[in-house]
């Protein structure tokens, strides 16, 4: 099962995504099968004090939820995952920014870039029994940004559409309220 969670900043996406994964884990436990490991794929590169604070906040939120955190700033394909694991990927807009702007990122453009990011996601899906992916809504403030920022937004939009197409469940979080889109 693939679940895509989207929403604006500060909408409570992370918390919802974590709890959704815990629900799926609980369903699994009820079947009496041994529970596989849960991995939290953290894509945010802690480049300043604010982002380190953010990482801490999220770590604190996960403290009791038994996740193994794997930091992966670019190329999801490099992840070595346990078969049947539970996976939470947070989040796609950071991953896309890293792929575009970090030295070790992806230098492809346009459709090829979108394909590259999707290959990373598709590498994880068959290995995991359940995947929850967090992404971000950044496209509704009406600002005409510079060309590069608009291209970054367009790429997020493209990746989000692809993710939604392959996901079994798509949920938009509006101030903590889950609105089911698919």
């Amino acid at each position: 099962m693939v679940v895509l969670v989207t929403g604006g900043s500060g909408s409570g996406k992370s918390e919802y995504a974590e709890n959704r994964l815990l629900e799926l884990r609980a369903d699994w436990s009820r079947k009496g099968i041994e529970l596989p490991r849960s991995f939290y794929i953290a894509t945010m590169y802690p480049y300043d004090e604010e982002s380190r604070e953010r990482v801490k906040k999220h770590q604190h939120m996960r403290a009791t939820k038994q996740f193994d955190t794997l930091e992966c700033y670019t190329n999801l394909k490099q992840l070595k995952l346990q078969q049947d694991c539970f996976l939470l990927v947070e989040c796609m807009s950071n991953l896309i920014a890293n792929e575009r702007y970090m030295d070790e990122g992806c230098r492809l453009e346009g459709e090829a870039f979108v394909g590259y990011v999707m290959e990373g996601v598709k590498h994880c899906i068959p290995v995991a029994s359940h995947v929850v992916i967090v992404t971000n809504e950044v496209n509704s403030d009406g600002i005409a940004y510079d060309r590069e920022t608009m291209e970054y937004m367009r790429l997020i939009g493209q990746v989000n559409q692809r993710l939604a197409a392959l996901a079994d469940e798509v949920v938009e979080i509006v101030y903590g309220i889950p609105v089911k889109l698919k």
Binding site: G8, S140, D141, G142, I143, R154, N160, Q161, A164, L181
Partner: protein, 141 residues
């Protein structure tokens, strides 16, 4: 008239094409793709809208340009009314742009306000309003 809204880069135009394909299948007509449709791009089209338009994309940018040309809310609505009365199957696609901080710049502020108010009228006129997120449409009217 159908009104399709959502943030930028969400796949609204593709969604509109899908709707037309579905509709044509229901009616038993031949399938149509984007090339055989009269599509208008609000970013570059003329102020006076041809009545034959079937998909009117980037409507918010049309509003922006019309305001820049000194046209009023009423002028813009007049063009929409004319187009959808001629073609009741008209699809209008517009970005939702009012979810950020209200801009300090007066022009920018007016642009958001006018797109908002005009969209309210379009939503009233429309038979259906669909909001597209990540390529998925939710019919809200």
């Amino acid at each position: 008239m159908e009104f399709i809204i959502g943030g930028s880069y969400q796949g609204k135009y593709e969604y509109a094409l899908k709707r037309i394909r579905e509709k044509n299948q229901i009616k038993g007509c031949e399938k149509k793709d984007g090339n055989s449709l009269t599509v208008l791009d609000g970013a570059i089209c003329q102020d006076v809208i041809p009545e034959t338009v079937q998909i009117w994309n980037h409507f918010h940018l049309y509003v922006k340009r019309m305001l820049y040309h000194g046209k009023s809310r009423e002028d813009i609505l007049e063009q929409v009314e004319k187009a959808y009365k001629y073609n009741p199957d008209l699809i209008i696609i517009s970005d939702e742009i009012g979810y950020g901080i209200v801009p300090v710049d007066a022009e920018e502020r007016r642009y958001r306000e006018e797109v908002g108010r005009i969209s309210c009228v379009l939503a009233q006129w429309a038979d259906h309003v669909t909001r597209v997120i990540c390529g998925l449409g939710t019919v809200i009217k």
